[in-house]
């Protein structure tokens, strides 16, 4: 019995050696290329990722416009246009409800249409981005066309007057605010809609 066991062990080793001589079939070149692509390019990995989508260079102007508009809405809704008592009342009785898909789609298209106008008023994307970053509520308050009550803004009179181009763009930004005030779509919705509906901004120097 012992001898038989020893023979089996020897045979096992022999058998393992024979098995190891069999090589697994080679991975098809196209599959191998896909696997290598996985680790060599982050961008190719997550075409569906909103995070990556949002930081695509071609999308930055639209993202900046959307963020800016949402920031305006926050200030406008919560701190500017409503009296403090009303804010407290609104906050205490606020009800959350999901808008219908059709509503979101309509609003997203509307907002993006206007955002596109703003971005296209600049010859290159860098200038558009800097402009969006530079806008603040003080400058916004200087616009005679704004519908927000000027007294509720902390106006800084020492600010230099806006150039005609900036003023024109801010008027368009006002439209963005109004559109968002009607029911702002979420940023991921904007991101998805923009890549679906909008062409890339040309970077013309």
């Amino acid at each position: 019995m012992k001898e038989n066991h020893a023979n089996n062990d020897f045979s096992f080793r022999e058998l393992e050696e024979q098995l190891q001589k069999l090589k697994p079939a080679a991975t098809p070149p196209e599959l191998s290329a896909k696997l290598l692509q996985v680790v060599s390019s982050e961008r190719s990995l997550y075409p569906y990722s909103l995070k990556k989508l949002f930081f695509r260079p071609s999308f930055i102007p639209w993202a900046a416009a959307a963020l800016l508009a949402l920031a305006f809405i926050g200030g406008h809704k919560l701190w500017v246009s409503s009296p403090r008592e009303q804010i407290a009342e609104t906050v205490s009785t606020i009800e959350f409800s999901l808008p219908s898909l059709q509503d979101i789609k309509g609003q997203a298209i509307e907002v993006l249409k206007v955002s596109r106008l703003i971005a296209s008023s600049y010859a290159n994307q860098d200038a558009a981005i800097s402009f969006f970053k530079s806008i603040n509520k003080e400058q916004f308050a200087q616009l005679p066309s704004t519908k927000l009550p000027p007294t509720t803004w902390s106006v800084a009179p020492e600010l230099p007057p806006l150039s005609p181009k900036q003023e024109a763009a801010l008027r368009k930004a006002d439209l963005v605010v109004e559109a968002l005030a009607a029911g702002a779509p979420t940023i991921p919705t904007l991101a998805l809609a923009s890549t679906t509906f909008l062409p890339k901004t040309k970077n013309v120097e």
């Binding site: 393992e16 697994p24 079939a25 191998s32 996985v38």
Partner: protein, 170 residues
């Protein structure tokens, strides 16, 4: 902490892809499924490692585990076993060159014997021989005890030994 450079990842994939592919084909019901499963598994492990900013490449066993999990999710069709029985031993391994000690007839016998193994035993042999894993690692992947795995392995070799009696004798 910085992520691992992509060169290291590429080397890691090139080194291990054949054995992952072998296991994926063994676990799936079609060639297309196997390719999808392998791609998703590598992607998941890569994402998991880079998200945690681990300074080390993951263990190859992690990919085997991911393949197994995904293969189960892809579903095991009723005809899978039959298909596998037909294709198993002849498609999963390369035809050997004459540098091997044994000839075409012996190789065919070996492949036939592998084809006759029960599914669980074949999986254990694959992970052990071609996956290069330890029994403990295989037990973790298969979610069973190490005793079960060693028993499966021993039973598989006994069966192969019986089928191949006299074939490889010196």
């Amino acid at each position: 902490m910085k992520n691992l450079p992509s060169d290291k990842w590429r080397e890691w994939i090139v080194e291990n892809q054949d054995k992952w592919y072998l296991y994926a084909r063994q676990q799936s019901r079609s060639e297309a499924d196997a390719q999808d499963i392998l791609q998703e598994s590598v992607l998941a492990i890569w994402h998991q490692t880079t998200s945690s900013r681990s300074p080390e490449l993951p263990h190859t066993g992690a990919v085997f585990t991911a393949i197994r999990y995904r293969a189960m999710n892809f579903g095991r069709a009723s005809d899978r076993r039959q298909r596998r029985q037909e294709e198993y031993s002849f498609l999963l391994w390369e035809q050997q060159t004459d540098e091997n000690r044994y000839g075409a007839d012996e190789q065919k016998l070996l492949l036939e014997a592998l084809r006759g193994l029960p599914e669980a035993q074949a999986e254990t042999v694959t992970l052990k021989i071609w996956g290069g894993l330890t029994f403990q690692e295989i037990a973790n992947i298969c979610d069973c005890s190490i005793n079960t795995i060693t028993a499966r392995y021993r039973q598989a070799l006994l069966k192969l030994q019986k089928e191949l009696k006299g074939t490889f004798s010196q």
